[in-house]
């Protein structure tokens, strides 16, 4: 996937060409939804966040400047929307209800269960950074752009998250 937006496509999309907008963001919807799901843990909330992110991207497309890569730009909107969702009292209430009412996993593998729980306890941005870098395989630079931090800070955030999950992980091992 080309990271930098094709300029005529960007301009057409800004001018209101829905086909151009679709060409820009369609490949990003599924990974965006998966990013939202990894951050929110609920399909309905993830779809709402991704939907809202798409709407915002469409309305604010003029802020996608020439040469700006579209993937981290869109993922940044998704991640921000997830943070907004998490901040609402309604989300906190429904999340508590879901956690309380969730049946225990069948024969969980203890080590993975521990890891799962530890990942759930990670700050939202740290979990998002892990998801972007490990699961979506985004390079550090794009993770940084998505999170709105420097590459060094993104790397540090991933390292910190890994260290929380497995304290023995050393910084130099982070690719």
């Amino acid at each position: 996937m080309s990271l930098t937006v094709d300029e005529p496509l960007r301009l057409r999309a800004i001018a209101g060409d829905e086909a151009a907008f679709e060409a820009l963001v369609r490949p990003l919807i599924e990974p965006g939804l998966r990013l939202a799901f990894s951050m929110l843990g609920d399909r309905r909330d993830a779809e709402d966040a991704t939907q809202e992110a798409l709407t915002r991207a469409w309305r604010k497309l003029h802020q996608l400047r020439p040469g700006m890569p579209v993937r981290p730009w869109f993922f940044a909107i998704v991640a921000n929307q997830c943070r907004n969702v998490r901040r609402t009292p309604w989300f906190r209430l429904t999340s508590l209800i879901e956690v309380a009412g969730r049946p225990p996993s069948q024969e969980p593998e203890v080590e993975h269960l521990d890891l799962e729980r530890a990942m759930q306890r990670l700050p939202l941005a740290d979990r998002g950074a892990l998801f972007l870098h490990f699961y979506l395989d985004l390079p550090i630079e794009e993770v940084a752009a998505t999170l709105g931090v420097s590459p060094a800070a993104a790397k540090s955030r991933i390292y910190r998250a890994c260290h929380r999950l497995r304290p023995a992980v050393a910084l130099e091992e982070l690719g």
Partner: protein, 394 residues
């Protein structure tokens, strides 16, 4: 590390398995996302097009969304703004003619708020779902243009703002007129077609001033400044990347072209008295500026990139996008204020009829987490004293 990476991915994969089939989600979301904007497509495309090419022009009050206001870190002894935790409910407590900076409420982006330039008065101006699409205030913030038309500070729509296919244009310095570039076609044919400069008094029919430049499918013309006081507009021909390649100084009353020049990117004072042409020197890796009078006389060569002027043109905001910004008396090069060393320039707006200038910069304490860079807005006086008026805004 590889083991941990694999284990983390297994946890993510297991979690993602619960997401189920997402194949149909994209179409539905795309349809829903574009539906709202389609209603106002023609007008919105105009607004977006103008926003694209006028990045540095009158933008602070146009698109800022305050997310938080912090009273700390005020850089002078001026009173600090009052922090807020909920959307503003009090109407803006200033007379309707007092100049203000308009912004969207931090907790409700469908609400438009305003702040006096000294930060002593803030309040709600209007609420509408369409305000999320953007707005463009006149210099004093007494009127603003948005997709619903042109409204005053009571929120009442006072005029329709559709002026043609290529957008609203630029507010004139009297705040009661605007200059627009229009073309015959929504989608100009190959080779483009002539563009026309129009002057419109709010609520009245537009008047054609002159044919200047050409409109193309992917590029066009724009109004850099429009001055009733000085009877002139500066019109730019833009490349498809949005930078100027030529400009014209046009007399509004006669349509006469006073001067034109093939140029690099330009910035102008609100009245077109000063036209700063920015050139990039590849050998030094620096941007330099030449400041012209409206008749082409060279007035100065400040080192660096001029981004904006104060109302009377005596002060210039200097600094490349994303770099440290300063406010300079450009005639003698005196730096009267330097922005924070860790903040990068975003945009600036002069105080109408005043000597202050609002400058917005990025803040590493508030990294970009969405599609729009958060910013802090400083108001800098002619003595170099500044207050941080707004914090962490978008």
């Amino acid at each position: 590390m590889n083991d941990l990476r694999r284990d983390i991915n297994e946890v993510f994969a297991k979690q993602q398995g619960q997401l189920g089939d997402v194949a149909g989600a994209g179409n539905r979301m795309l349809r829903s996302a574009t539906a709202g904007r389609r209603i106002n497509r023609q007008l919105w495309s105009s607004v977006a097009g103008v926003a694209l090419v006028l990045v540095a022009a009158l933008a602070i009050g146009v698109s800022v969304v305050i997310r938080q206001m912090h009273p700390q870190k005020v850089v002078t002894s001026h009173p600090s703004p009052t922090p807020i935790a909920t959307p503003m409910s009090q109407a803006l407590p200033v007379p309707s003619t007092t100049p203000v900076i308009l912004f969207r409420d931090p907790l409700n982006d469908q609400q438009l708020d305003g702040s006096a330039w000294d930060g002593t008065a803030k309040g709600r101006v209007a609420v509408s779902p369409e305000l999320g699409s953007g707005f463009r205030q006149n210099p004093a913030g007494t009127l603003y243009q948005w997709v619903g038309g042109i409204s005053d500070r009571t929120g009442a729509v006072v005029a329709a703002s559709a002026t043609g296919f290529k957008g609203f244009g630029t507010w004139a310095d009297d705040g009661q007129h605007y200059c627009s570039m229009v073309s015959k076609s929504a989608l100009p044919p190959a080779g483009g077609e002539p563009a026309t400069l129009q002057l419109t008094a709010v609520g009245q029919a537009p008047k054609n001033v002159a044919q200047v430049g050409r409109m193309f499918d992917q590029a066009g013309t724009s109004v850099a400044s429009c001055s009733i006081e000085k009877d002139r507009a500066v019109v730019t021909q833009l490349s498809s990347l949005g930078s100027a390649v030529q400009f014209w100084v046009v007399q509004l009353s006669t349509g006469r072209i006073l001067w034109t020049r093939q140029s690099g990117d330009i910035r102008t004072s609100r009245d077109g008295q000063y036209i700063a042409e920015i050139s990039y020197n590849q050998s030094t890796g620096r941007s330099d500026t030449t400041i012209y009078s409206p008749t082409g006389a060279v007035l100065g060569h400040p080192t660096g990139w001029v981004q904006a002027f104060s109302w009377d043109g005596s002060l210039a905001v200097m600094g490349n996008y994303g770099e440290r910004v300063s406010v300079v008396r450009w005639r003698d090069g005196t730096v009267i204020w330097s922005g924070p060393s860790d903040g990068g320039y975003i945009d600036a707006m002069p105080e109408p009829e005043g000597q202050r200038i609002a400058v917005s910069v990025s803040d590493p304490q508030h990294p970009q987490t969405g599609g729009f860079p958060p910013r802090n807005v400083y108001v800098v006086g002619p003595d170099g004293k500044a207050i941080r008026l707004l914090t962490d805004v978008e």
